[in-house]
Symmetry: C2
Subunit: 646 residues, 2 copies
């Protein structure tokens, strides 16, 4: 851990101009934000109702009615506002800003006098604030609202929303230091990382201190969440008869003693984000070590090759080391977003690109798979293998959807994906003291300062299809400082040039380090990045005898659209090479990968028999792989990342 | 369908004397029945409490207290009494009979004046009888009570229990013809087949007629169960907020239109039992055809090689054709018992041994796996692949237990297995008009009559380890008639002798037909039955590239106890033969099967990495298979039926 942390760049200092990512960024402004606004207002046909805006109107006394939706329904609006803030930083849009300002005014009207803000409790359980932290989600909701308020303030400079949320945060800081709450923690983490953000923008120590208390209390005895339902002010929210299960909410041990990632995956990574933040601000080595241990447990034992986390459909949670079933998992889009946020923080406080590697995997595979290429439908659950027939309602597979859903009654993922894509610039690069750090090799224009001198960097990239990157650095006045460019682990034979001459920069924690007097320079980076077969640790029972196809940061998959039905019956010949072919007409322009192999012949099997003594015949076949992030954008069918090989 | 059906033999006319089955039969009397009596009385240490007997005492007014346990807790006592009845037919036991008589008196005292019998409603919801057929289980409970009463009457000749249950049945016949119940059906089938049994023993047509009405009403509109909760006398039992899902209870279509086995597997096969019974008594071709269609759907598309049914852990149910996941399935012991009961009925009304084949598979694999070899612990769920680490509470795998459980709060399986084993004679042979039908080639002594002349048959068998069967037929007076001996589909080169000379009997629907003047004859049957690899239809996604080992009726499996951990990392060479070796010291004496193959080498994989670009190395290995029915009787560990091959 460093003494100073790298900062995410202000989003108005970076423009994304990338053929791969660009589509998604423009989807956010052009499609997703307007679409989600309609959804929040229950104006999307054939989709589950959100009721979110109506809840605020009812809480504000502007409409008659009651609360509908999940207890955390308010967060839909929070995430939408956060996405709006980010999108405004790229592109002014007065109409959108006006909508947002009105929504913020509505939020203000729905806030109670003491600063309390949560429409569920205001409408349905007035006077019962903070009486069910296990299920109530008030602190989770407040966290998302604070994140949105901070983002909106940073982009627009307007402080109305920030002030609303400071009042809520002030209330939280006051309430959660009362005696009866002295060991209280939220059931769903999120407020912790949000309070750190609020501290960063306001400088008010009490917010940092409250975040720290929430993190330090977790998993200590007495376990507040376990004992809460016995308290006389407790109020039942979800009529959940089950006793509290501490690992589910990472409350089984004090955080420094946690060695494995446990429980609900989204909660876990949101907690780890706050732990990383607090480790930095307190320069707390033991807390940092806990983060590192948890990070290693995830990436070495509990993460899908796609950056998905959460192996169990029931309770959307981590299970045990190497338990990575492909068809029945959860791997929630939000969990991979949280993993990316955690990795970004770890990279910020260490300057180590290994975390960026994981962040990139999560973003470019699971998070992008979570959204349709038209921005109009979404996956919660991101399986690595799908057989649509088996994804039946009222069975163990009912959480797996073979088709993206328009909108969810419980709509955490769609707006979370939107805010993530809208803030992509924060992932692309960091700024340090007289330094700029390039994380994602994506096309972008970056304005920064090195020792007070303005520098512009125009980055062109052929990623993820080819390892060709060109950076045009220009400064009016000569600027001194360092440029760090990440050299991904998947880059083979990376070659740099500086102004046309081969350069051999030092590699520091995965970043190539250039220190120049910057004026007008061109740096290029080229590396080979052919598609390869990848294999899983043999302890992963689900993947023994199977191979996946990867190309750079992208994981590939087979789809029924290209390969017919029964992908389980396909065996790839890994001794034969993979062929790559860029196709403009494929999924908006993508590198298709083909291989040779065999597949089961069904015609020699009598229709009537389920088992027999003769083995199944195989025939020669060719197969076609497409990027996993783009699966499910054609006709409904089977999909498989891991393919049998011989 | 025949005009006359084959009858199950009276259990006092058959004694099982078999080295394989004998252990289980004696477990029932010596261990299970006393153990289960303790369980019913809450006297088993460290096991979940049953509270069953206490419920009856409270309902009878003999004790103060309330109802505890599941709404169908009474059935534990019913199944125990049924098992006791069967065991008494083999072996007199005055003490046990006295216990049973006292339990029956207690049941009588718990019965309400109008004949109603169900301690849950009597204690907790007096006056709310039959006000929640969806969840109430009163008709299911009555069904098990009737089955027990019929069995007890047939064995002991005592009619107290039968009369109690006739009063309950009379009430049911009266109530369920009232106008408000005109389309009512039970949520969980069982009463239908029980009413047929009551008809068979009493000759009272109204019981048959009520059974028929329940079967005919199912799946018709208006759907009673779907609409029930809107009725003004409805009472909430399980606080289940979900709307009724008709396929779950086979109520999606009228029974004749059902082409696929749907919903909760136990409910389904209990319904099919009644359908087969009624098809026979009504000589109803369309109902029989429906049974045959459903049977075919199960065995051709929805049954595990072990005779297990129910692919989904959630709701313990059938899913879709060829969806047979090995590790996450349900395959409840009770469902395979129900399947055996259905198959037995189909064989009784057709004389076709194909149903016996399925019945034998279910009994000898899944049902036997359901009980520990010491009779003291039980599986509900019967996976074909287990990795104990992954069977975690509060995850999608929590229904799968790697270790048999002592007793269940919801204890349907243990007493169901007990009653099934105790009545094994009913599966071994049938009697027809002047004929005896041998179904299971198990050691037994059978007394029967052919045209009024007594005949004794002593059957010696080396099954399931060797295909050697010897039948000694003896009659004091020459008896005319037919002896049908099943020739299993797995029997290769079956050779019969009659009194030492080769015989070539005609084969009729899977049975060898001998028609002789029986006096003193010896028939032998020998066939080869080496272990073989079996393969699944390639539409079964879960089993492509895998082989199972079968020997005659037995399915084999790998266990960690013999093969070390990570059974998923083993590949069997199917081109090499299987070696068989009978071992006295293995699992009480069993044929061990060994094979050659390869397995993953873990030492070449760095501990820290989850994915890499180099494939996993393999090394030569030998592996050992043991009978699936005996798995989990040594130390806890992994198990796998389907093994990768190359």
């Amino acid at each position: 851990m460093e003494k100073k942390k790298l900062q995410t760049i202000s989003l108005n200092k970076i423009g994304v101009d990338d053929s791969f990512w660009g589509k998604y960024i423009s989807l956010v402004t052009k499609e997703i934000i307007p679409y989600q606004w309609s959804a929040l207002n229950d104006e999307v046909k054939d989709a589950e109702k959100s009721h979110c805006i109506t809840n605020f109107k009812v809480a504000a006394g502007l409409e008659e009615g009651t609360f509908e939706g999940f207890v955390f329904q308010d967060t839909d609006l929070a995430k939408w506002l956060e996405a709006v803030a980010y999108s405004l930083s790229y592109e002014k849009n007065e109409e959108l800003e006006k909508l947002a300002d009105e929504a913020i005014q509505l939020i203000g009207k729905a806030q109670e006098e003491n600063g309390y803000l949560d429409t569920y409790f205001t409408i349905l359980e007035p006077g019962k604030q903070f009486c069910n932290l296990k299920e109530g989600h008030e602190l989770y909701t407040a966290g998302h609202m604070i994140e949105a308020a901070v983002a909106y303030y940073k982009v627009t400079g307007k402080d109305e929303f920030l002030n609303i949320m400071k009042r809520t945060a002030d209330l939280i800081c006051e309430v959660f230091h009362r005696e009866k709450y002295e060991n209280a923690v939220p059931g769903h983490e999120e407020i912790e990382l949000a309070l750190v953000k609020l501290y960063e923008v306001t400088g008010e120590e009490k917010y940092l201190s409250m975040a720290k208390d929430f993190v330090e209390r977790r998993g200590t005895k007495p376990n507040y969440l376990e004992e809460e339902s016995g308290k006389d002010w407790y109020v039942d929210v979800w009529h959940d008869a089950n006793p509290y299960h501490p690992p589910y909410g990472q409350a089984h041990l004090p955080v420094r003693q946690q060695k494995t990632a446990e429980g609900h995956a989204v909660r876990a990574v949101y907690l780890y984000c706050a732990m990383a933040d607090l480790a930095f601000f307190s320069q707390d080595k033991s807390l940092f070590d806990a983060c590192e241990t948890l990070y290693k447990n995830i990436v070495e034992k509990r993460m899908y090759i796609t950056g998905g986390i959460g192996s169990s459909g029931i309770l959307e949670r981590f299970t045990t080391d190497y338990d990575l079933p492909n068809a029945s998992n959860y791997a929630e889009s939000c969990a991979s977003i949280g993993l990316a946020l955690f990795c970004r923080r770890m990279a910020q406080i260490t300057g180590d690109a290994k975390y960026i590697e994981t962040m990139e995997t999560a973003l470019m595979n699971t998070v992008l798979a979570g959204i349709a290429m038209d921005g109009k439908s979404f996956f919660y659950v991101n399986p690595l293998e799908v057989w649509p027939n088996a994804c039946m309602e009222k069975t163990s597979m009912e959480h797996v959807k073979p088709v993206r859903q328009k909108w969810f009654g419980c709509a955490c993922c769609p707006p979370n994906i939107a805010r993530t894509l809208a803030s992509l610039g924060e992932y692309i690069c960091f700024t340090g003291e007289d330094s700029l750090w390039i994380n994602l090799l994506a096309g972008a224009e970056i304005s920064t300062e090195l020792k007070g001198k303005k520098v512009n960097i125009k980055m062109d990239s052929s990623m993820p299809w080819e390892g060709k990157i060109r950076l045009q650095i220009s400064a009016k006045e000569t600027a001194e400082g360092s440029l760090y460019i990440r050299v991904p682990e998947y880059a083979r034979n990376p070659i740099f040039t500086l102004d046309g001459k081969k350069a051999v920069p030092g590699i520091e924690k995965g970043y190539a380090h250039f220190k120049e007097d910057w004026k007008n320079q061109v740096i290029t980076l080229e590396f080979s990045m052919e598609a390869h077969f990848a294999y899983a640790n043999p302890n992963v029972r689900a993947d023994v005898g199977k191979a996946a196809v990867v190309k750079g940061p992208l994981v590939y998959c087979l789809e029924e659209a290209d390969n017919g039905e029964n992908l389980s019956g396909i065996f790839v010949d890994v001794k034969e090479g993979l062929k790559e072919n860029f196709r403009e007409d494929l999924l908006g322009g993508a590198m298709e990968i083909t291989a040779r192999g065999k597949r089961v012949v069904k015609k020699d099997w009598e229709k009537e028999s389920l088992y027999r003594l003769a083995p199944v015949e195989l025939e020669e076949t060719r197969m076609k792989f497409v990027p996993y992030c783009h699966w499910g954008n054609r006709k409904t069918g089977e999909m498989a990342v891991w393919v049998k090989y011989w």
